[in-house]
């Protein structure tokens, strides 16, 4: 039926196939397919070869008239090259792939019936992957979770990615017992076994399985007790021991001794420090629940942490326990003193040779039975550690011949023995009696020392000895009005007691002079007075108090008594801007003496008062100035109108147009057009350095951008010669030109202007144009003056731009380029832009206004223009609207710095 080649036959053939494939058969089945592929949904190893067979059903041969030769294979929608096909018989076609990496899903068997109608017969899913690799690096660790609970976590390297669903199973077994597998969840490289048993060798291994095969890791044989990581010791406590240098640690182990004997690490550090110290591991190498840490500093807070592991070192350390702190107790008083002995070397004539060494002998006077210590030193100092007590130090210098006499130094014990009590003095005629109360201990003797206290010399000590039973002596040779320092030492059988001192006078007098007072600081209502103590020689007795006396010139005297220990006092509640007189008096038991007067004047203003006045005034002044500036800025148009009246452009006047002499007078190429600089004293100028190229290009162009935005019809923007250049603009020039129409009828008021082009440096400007605000008719003298002024600045070193009514002046000595506008009758915005802009075509990129090397000021205007347009076309837009020839253009000149595609400053 399908062999007919009519179009209708093809359609009928295809319809049959569709029916055959898709329609349920009579028996109730869903599909009676025309064929199938074997193998069905294969899983293939990556890189292997693969052959698939497509087998057609006989029924399709009968009814569909299709054969294996018509079979085509497709991967996804891509046709498999027919070279890979092989027709095995009329119902079977095979396709072979040498490398399964080129396979994709689905692989379909299709029939290409007559008429090139493609029908799908069957499709299979092809899965390509790799067999699992042997898992490697299997390792396990047993974590303790509680006293009785342990879990074993094993990890391994699963190997390469297989692209297939690969199952990993962790297995473990005893000799005749295999336990349930551990199946990893969400991972393929670790698993945790919860049911483990210690003290049995356990074999552990990993199995990896997928559709392409199975692989097993090397077995790990281990007793789980050997891979335990125990929990760290709990309930760690620290308690101070009997000694101040020890602390006792106690803790609880999670593991019973029956399961595992432990060893420990104990680390500790001073709280606040970062460095840990460790107890020697050999001291904690056995199971225990406490440890005494020794060698600690007294009265110091320590932090401790403990960890443990199996006693034999097989397994893993636990984590460090939580830190616990404890403080050692305070120790006894310092046991030693560090004594530095210093002595001077003998002078050569004293040494009688080279001193070979010094012999230092230490004898403990407190303990006569103690051995004498000897030290031989070569330097002139020695350091000793001595216990509390009294020591006798003997120093002997030795040379090659012998020894020097000993130099003895007694180091008494510090406060080792009680002093006398209630030391007191009492003058008795010309003697000074010193009395005391004996200490409780038995005293052999008393040593009474005294010396005259002097501010200029050391205290020269005199002394005498009194027997132990005496409790008072008379000191002889004591001078009146002099201060004496008296010290009494008790001598005990085992050493010297500490001394007790008292100052005393045999007789007192009033001070020999009064204190000199002066001000340290003077304020509005207070003054700080300061003075020096009287010297001991000036005091003549014990100063009991100081008295400050101060008064105003006409006021009452005020008296203040001050403690004798002070040297400063603050007078308060003074009157401002007032003269005070102050003096000071020192008093002893026998009288007073006043020092010199001192005057001072309190201040008129207190601290900060002046600032409080000046600052607000300044701020107010600044505010007024600021408001004035803002007002002027807002009313600038009005102000300008009053100060700078509008001046019509003379060049637009009827006279300028009418008079045939005018062009001749403005001979732009003539040297005579230069004007003296003095002619423009009233003209504001902008000076531009000749070598400042930017000023000719970008910077100078900016004002024109601004000016373009302004309306040219505003009279207020006009400014005459002599006015400020700030208000000048090229547009105003045009504006003035607009007014030319009106000036045509104004014969009585002629306005004219001239642009003056100064020469660059020593060069003569080639163009001159100036503008006058005069409303007077043109006079010959004025015209001459203008003409003359145009060439005056031949020696000018800088270019100058006149910013008046567009009359800016620029001298371009290289390529002087001027634009002349005879008349501008329609001064709109576009005209303004066109007026100031030169259209430049051609290749030159040289900014015309920047070339200054050549001195071409002699050139005529036509020549200038020719020069200017050399190699390019320079054409003011206004020329288009006012198609006048250059010669016919009126005398309004705009010196321009031309920049290709840019604007010219005007």
């Amino acid at each position: 039926m399908c062999s007919m080649f009519s179009r209708w036959n093809w359609v009928a053939c295809g319809f049959y196939l569709v029916l055959n494939i898709c329609s349920p058969d009579a028996s109730g089945g869903l599909v009676q397919s025309c064929g199938h592929i074997i193998p069905e949904s294969p899983v293939l190893a990556l890189g292997s070869n693969f052959t698939a067979l497509c087998i057609l059903n006989e029924s399709c041969l009968d009814f569909g008239n299709i054969y294996a030769s018509q079979i085509i294979w497709k991967i996804k929608n891509k046709l498999v090259p027919k070279e890979q096909y092989r027709e095995i018989n009329r119902t079977v076609s095979s396709v072979t792939f040498n490398d399964t990496s080129s396979l994709a899903t689905p692989l379909t068997c299709n029939i290409l019936a007559d008429g090139q109608i493609e029908q799908n017969i069957y499709g299979i899913t092809v899965t390509v992957g790799l067999a699992p690799e042997k898992p490697k690096n299997l390792s396990c660790i047993v974590h303790q979770e509680s006293v009785l609970t342990y879990v074993m976590n094993c990890t391994w390297n699963p190997g390469r990615h297989t692209f297939l669903d690969t199952q990993f199973r962790l297995r473990h077994s005893w000799p005749e017992e295999i336990f349930p597998d551990c199946i990893p969840k969400d991972v393929n490289n670790s698993c945790t076994i919860t049911d483990i048993q210690f003290f049995v060798n356990t074999e552990i291994w990993v199995e990896a399985t997928n559709a392409l095969g199975k692989a097993e890791s090397d077995p790990l044989v281990v007793d789980p007790i050997d891979i335990v990581k125990p929990l760290s010791p709990q309930n760690v406590s620290v308690s101070s021991g009997v000694l101040p240098t020890v602390l006792q640690l106690c803790w609880v182990n999670w593991i019973s001794d029956a399961v595992m004997m432990l060893k420990f690490n104990i680390r500790y550090r001073i709280v606040g420090e970062t460095n840990w110290m460790e107890v020697p591991s050999e001291d904690t190498a056995s199971t225990r629940t406490s440890f005494i840490v020794q060698g600690l500093r007294p009265y110091t807070e320590y932090a401790f942490s403990i960890r443990c592991m199996k006693e034999d070192g097989v397994g893993y350390w636990s984590d460090w326990s939580e830190e616990k702190t404890g403080m050692t107790t305070a120790s006894h008083s310092p046991a030693f003193w560090t004594v530095h002995l210093l002595w001077k070397a003998l002078k050569p004539f004293e040494a009688n040779g080279v001193i070979l060494q010094y012999e230092v002998t230490i004898r403990d006077k407190s303990s006569p039975s103690s051995p004498v210590k000897k030290y031989n030193v070569t330097s002139t100092n020695h350091t000793l550690q001595l216990r509390e007590g009294t020591y006798e130090v003997t120093l002997v210098a030795r040379n090659s011949v012998g020894s020097s006499p000993p130099s003895v130094l007694l180091i008494p014990a510090s406060n080792s023995k009680a002093p006398v009590k209630n030391l007191r003095t009492l003058p008795k005629h010309d003697k000074l009696w010193v009395g005391w109360t004996a200490p409780n201990s038995y005293v052999l003797k008393y040593v009474i020392e005294w010396c005259l206290v002097s501010s200029s010399s050391d205290c020269i000590i005199e002394w005498q000895i009194a027997l132990g039973g005496v409790q008072g002596v008379d000191l002889k040779g004591i001078k009146p009005f002099k201060c004496y320092l008296i010290t009494v030492y008790p001598l005990y059988a085992d050493g010297q007691g500490s001394g007790q001192s008292v100052k005393a006078y045999l007789k007192q007098d009033r001070p020999s002079k009064g204190p000199t007072v002066q001000t340290k600081k003077v304020g509005k209502a207070e003054a700080v007075l300061t003075w020096n103590h009287l010297t001991v020689e000036e005091q003549n007795g014990f100063i009991r108090n100081y008295t400050i006396l101060y008064k105003t010139i006409d006021g009452n005297e005020t008296v203040v008594t001050v403690d004798p220990s002070k040297t400063e006092y603050t007078l308060s509640s003074l009157t401002s801007d007032t003269l005070y007189t102050v003096r000071m008096m020192a008093s002893t038991d026998n009288g007073s003496r006043t020092g010199p007067d001192f005057t001072f004047t309190t201040q008129k203003f207190g601290k900060g008062e002046i600032e409080a006045i000046v600052v607000p005034v300044c701020l107010a002044f600044l505010l007024i100035v600021l408001l004035g500036v803002l007002f002027c800025f807002n009313k600038r148009d009005l102000i300008k109108k009053h100060i700078w009246p509008i001046v019509p452009d003379p060049s637009k006047s009827n006279i300028a147009q009418w008079s045939p002499q005018v062009p001749a007078k403005h001979n732009f190429s003539s040297k005579d057009q230069t004007y003296p600089e003095g002619s423009f004293t009233d003209v504001s100028v902008v000076e531009i350095e000749a070598d400042d190229k930017k000023s000719f290009s970008e910077q100078d162009l900016k004002p024109f951008d601004l000016l373009k935005k302004e309306k040219s019809t505003s009279e207020g923007h006009s400014s005459g010669i002599g006015g400020s250049s700030c208000m000048s603009s090229p547009r105003q020039s045009v504006s003035d030109s607009d007014e030319g129409d009106t000036t045509q009828n104004t014969s009585s008021t002629v306005q004219y202007s001239t642009v003056v082009l100064n020469g660059y440096r020593d060069q003569t400007p080639v163009q001159v144009f100036s503008r006058s605000e005069s409303t007077q008719p043109l006079l010959d003298s004025e015209e001459r003056s203008e003409d003359h002024a145009g060439g005056a600045d031949s020696t000018a070193q800088r270019q100058q731009y006149f910013r008046q009514n567009g009359g800016q002046d620029e001298t371009n000595t290289d390529r002087p380029c001027f634009e002349r506008t005879k008349q501008i009758t329609h001064a709109n915005e576009g005209d303004l832009v066109g007026f100031v802009q030169l259209q430049i075509s051609g290749q030159s990129s040289q900014p015309l206004g920047l070339g200054m090397e050549k001195n071409t000021q002699e050139a005529a205007v036509s020549n200038v223009l020719q020069t200017c347009t050399e190699g390019q076309t320079v054409r003011p837009e206004t020329v288009e609207e006012n198609p006048l020839s250059v010669d016919e253009m009126p005398k309004s000149y705009l010196p321009q710095t031309v920049r290709q595609g840019g604007y010219m400053p005007q």
Partner: protein, 211 residues
């Protein structure tokens, strides 16, 4: 030697063997022929000693906890109720001077019995005292330890004495008995276990200490 799987499930099967004669028959097998010979290493002897020591260390606590969890009258009249005189318990007639082989065989019989009995007790307690977590945990751990111990003894008997089969007699099953009877039987077994395990530890020590 028949390998006796531990736990509750094999217990039923083991019951079938309980009336078998006790016999240990030596077969001439090389050490490499022992099951799992790769795991039967030199450390097994020490492992066995540690296991017995562990059981000995925990037996009394287990027994006390068992009594506590059974409530009255067991906690107050344990001497009377838990007297093991009336129950079967493997004879452990070895001493320090006994031959090591004899000790090993006796140990195997003892712990095979204990393993089965502990399995039964655990099963009963899961039914009677499901909330006694600590008791159940200790029973599980003890049962597991006896399993490991049996495995190690199997290794030692086979490796050192070529004994691969030991006939073991087990006790009566508690299945089907009343709750009281179950508790009592467990109590009797555990009491006897406490007594015997101490003896075993003492006997085993010189035999398994590293020479």
């Amino acid at each position: 030697m028949k390998f006796v799987p531990a736990g509750v499930v094999p217990f039923v099967a083991l019951l079938l063997l309980q009336r078998r004669p006790v016999a240990g028959r030596a077969l001439l097998l090389s050490g490499s022929g022992c099951p799992g010979h790769g795991l039967c290493r030199s450390n097994v002897q020490e492992q066995t000693r540690r296991q017995v020591a562990l059981l000995n260390a925990t037996a009394q606590e287990l027994f006390s906890l068992y009594l506590k969890c059974q409530g009255e009258p067991f906690s107050s009249e344990s001497d009377k109720l838990c007297n093991p005189a009336g129950i079967f318990f493997p004879a452990f007639r070895v001493n320090r001077t006994s031959e090591r082989k004899e000790v090993m065989v006796a140990m195997y019989k003892l712990f095979a019995f204990l393993n089965a009995s502990l399995g039964n007790i655990t099963r009963d307690q899961e039914e009677l005292n499901p909330m006694a977590k600590e008791l159940l945990e200790r029973l599980h751990n003890t049962t597991k330890t006896t399993r490991g111990l049996i495995s190690n003894l199997t290794c030692l008997l086979c490796k050192n004495y070529n004994i691969f089969q030991v006939d073991v007699r087990y006790g009566d099953s508690s299945k089907g008995k009343s709750a009281f009877k179950k508790k009592q039987q467990g109590c009797q077994v555990l009491r006897k276990y406490v007594q015997v395990i101490g003896l075993a530890a003492r006997v085993l020590l010189p035999h398994l200490s590293p020479s």
